[in-house]
């Protein structure tokens, strides 16, 4: 049974359309991440799922039941908010109990659930404190506890870790993943942080300008980005994208971006109608190397503008015939800024008319 099915969701605020025909399915127990830059409509979509915002068109199904006409409280969901939204005047215990109390659950059951949840999240010693007496991480736990205690069918997370510092965020990420495995409940998680998306999601839906750009497993999204936006959005540093005019030759494709000409191996493909036109060629920074490799690489000569050493590896910023090229490589690089260097590239990504065109693996 599907945990969540969204069909052709549209949303307009006045004259502005913020969501365009969004359809999405999450299986029972699946962890779906809505990933996109701010303003892409991901939080609005989450609020529509929650029932906090009505959609203009389309339908929302949760647990096999259409919930379009139901208020948030009857959708069997729980939500964790970006700013936690704990009730500041209530203790942690009262915060956890609030939803159950509003639903008229008997006291012994409420107490039992609180104890259970507190144990799961290791917050039992915080139960009698008020939210302001808690650290950010503790508040985050309580916010999750408030969601868990109700045992909903679907969890919604709206950038829940974005207010925590980097270290805490990383550890909460791990805990969240464990929690999901333990509870086995479907989760929809909104974030703009690709690291969170890649580590947490079973499925990632990348959004931009109110449209879903690509839905897939994290490795799919990373290795086979469906369009230049996804290619450029996922990965750190982002993929190098060269936009220009292409021409097909017998066994390769030639792309001219400014003064730079790249020739990559190519086989005829249905998606490519014309022998020439405009295209985008992408290459991930880690697929650019400086040591002479065996074969199958495309070599270009560039000048190093800047080297950023990150300890474990280094990010090298180059100019290649006026085009910027970023490489991620080992910090043992001998060259320095200003040096001329040959860069070898393979594993290109080709996009024509905004669509990915598979290239023969080199």
């Amino acid at each position: 049974m599907a945990g969540l099915v969204l069909r052709h969701i549209e949303k307009t605020f006045g004259r502005t359309r913020v969501l365009h025909d969004v359809s999405l399915e999450a299986g029972d127990g699946e962890f779906v991440v809505l990933l996109g830059p701010s303003g892409c409509g991901k939080s609005t979509l989450l609020r529509i799922i929650a029932g906090l915002e009505p959609q203009t068109r389309g339908s929302v199904n949760i647990g096999g039941r259409c919930v379009d006409a139901l208020p948030p409280s009857d959708r069997d969901i729980a939500m964790v908010f970006q700013h936690y939204a704990l009730y500041p005047h209530l203790t942690v215990r009262e915060n956890l109990a609030f939803g159950l109390k509003m639903r008229g659950k008997p006291k012994p059951i409420i107490e039992e659930r609180i104890v259970e949840t507190a144990a799961l999240l290791e917050i039992h010693d915080l139960l009698d404190r008020k939210p302001k007496e808690l650290s950010g991480g503790q508040q985050q736990r309580v916010a999750m506890g408030r969601a868990i205690v109700r045992k909903p069918q679907l969890f919604l997370f709206d950038e829940p870790l974005s207010n925590l510092d980097a270290r805490l965020r990383a550890s909460m990420r791990v805990e969240l993943k464990k929690l999901h495995r333990r509870l086995g409940t479907s989760m929809v998680y909104v974030t703009h942080d690709q690291a969170e998306a890649m580590t947490l999601g079973d499925t990632i839906a990348v959004m931009n300008h109110g449209r879903i750009q690509q839905i897939g497993r994290p490795d799919q999204i990373y290795h086979e980005p469906g369009n230049p936006f996804v290619a450029g959005f996922i990965g750190n540093p982002p993929m190098n994208l060269f936009e220009g005019s292409y021409r097909l030759h017998q066994r390769d494709l030639e792309l001219r971006a400014g003064d730079l000409t790249l020739r990559v191996p190519f086989q005829a493909h249905d998606l490519v109608g014309a022998d020439s036109g405009t295209a985008t060629l992408g290459i991930r920074p880690e697929d650019v190397i400086f040591a002479p490799p065996g074969s199958g690489h495309v070599a270009v000569i560039g000048t190093i503008d800047l080297i950023e050493s990150l300890g474990g590896d280094a990010v090298v910023y180059l100019s290649v015939k006026g085009q910027p090229l970023v490489a991620r490589t080992s910090p043992a690089l001998r060259q320095h800024a200003g040096d001329s260097v040959t860069a070898y590239m393979k594993n290109f990504h080709l996009f024509i008319n905004e669509n990915r065109v598979p290239l023969p693996s080199s």
Binding site: R47, A50, P72, S73, A85, L86, M102, R146
Partner: protein
């Protein structure tokens, strides 16, 4: 000069203007009033030191007792009504609707009108012969016209009404400020938690509004205790002593009867009572305000 002495000198220089202002315009008059209250003095006669004689008299004065009761009734009734109405106003102008800006401005108009003007307006409205209230209620039936301000209870009701009309919007403004700091997310969370509109008000809005309500309460009680101009314009304390609030009694004793010492004693007593009340509020409410969760 060591840096610390220089810092000190700069510090004193900085506070000097404010300190002078407070000393000349607040501290000195307060002290002088207190000294004056220890004398028996009439204009044109010798002042004689009588210690706390004036205070002893005030303690026994039945008119003063009556004035205290009227003041207390006025404070309780008007403050309660203003807070209730203010909360209602705040809840309405907090909602998003077309023309909210204009509504907010319109709501504040009574508060912007000077009290003396408002009081005069109410006196006209309630006039027993040509007042709009009688005209609206009874039209041509002139015989039925009610002399509102001539009846002790109705006159008291009238000054309460005028005060409530005038200052509810101010209370509303303070409460609105309190409403605006409650994040929308909190309400979203409560909606998902299954709270109905009434439960959201009772369990979320009301408790989170307490600091704002207490601030409004503080301002309004102190203001109501000092009520003078409404009474001065509308009723002159009458009929009988029905609307004679303590400040007005003090004024009358001092300026009409010329009992400088005794009139000052009344003022000083009100001043001390308010100081104690303020201190109490700041201690209890103020500490709660400081504890308040930053939004």
């Amino acid at each position: 000069m060591t840096p610390s002495t220089r810092d000190r000198t700069t510090g004193w220089l900085m506070v000097f203007p404010a300190l002078t202002f407070v000393t000349v315009f607040s501290l000195y008059p307060a002290m002088d009033s207190f000294l004056l209250s220890l004398y028996s003095e009439f204009p044109g006669s010798e002042r004689s030191f009588i210690g706390f004689g004036n205070y002893a008299e005030l303690f026994r004065d039945p008119v003063a007792h009556q004035a205290f009761i009227v003041t207390l009734g006025f404070v309780l009734l008007s403050t309660t009504l203003e807070l209730l109405l203010g909360t209602g106003i705040a809840l309405v102008i907090h909602e998003r609707f077309k023309g909210r800006g204009w509504t907010r401005a319109a709501v504040l108009i009574p508060w912007a009108i000077p009290t003396v003007v408002a009081a005069q307006m109410w006196r006209f409205l309630l006039n027993d012969q040509y007042g709009a209230v009688n005209a609206i209620l009874f039209g041509d039936q002139v015989d039925a016209y009610v002399p509102w301000l001539a009846d002790p209870w109705m006159a008291f009701g009238a000054i309460v009404l005028a005060d409530v009309w005038k200052t509810s919007s101010f209370a509303g403004l303070l409460i609105l400020a309190g409403l605006q700091v409650i994040p929308d997310e909190t309400y979203d969370a409560a909606r998902i938690d299954g709270a109905t509109a009434w439960q959201r008000f009772w369990h979320i809005t009301f408790p989170l509004l307490k600091p704002a309500l207490l601030t409004a309460l503080l301002f309004r009680t102190i203001d109501a205790f000092r009520a003078f101009d409404l009474v001065f314009v509308m009723t002159q304390g009458g009929p009988g002593d029905a609307t004679q609030v303590i400040q007005f009694y003090g004024y009358k004793t001092l300026f009409t009867e010329g009992r400088v010492g005794y009139g000052t004693t009344i003022s000083v007593t009100v001043f001390v009572a308010l100081a104690i009340l303020s201190l109490f509020y700041v201690r209890t409410v103020g500490s709660k305000l400081l504890q308040r969760e930053p939004a």
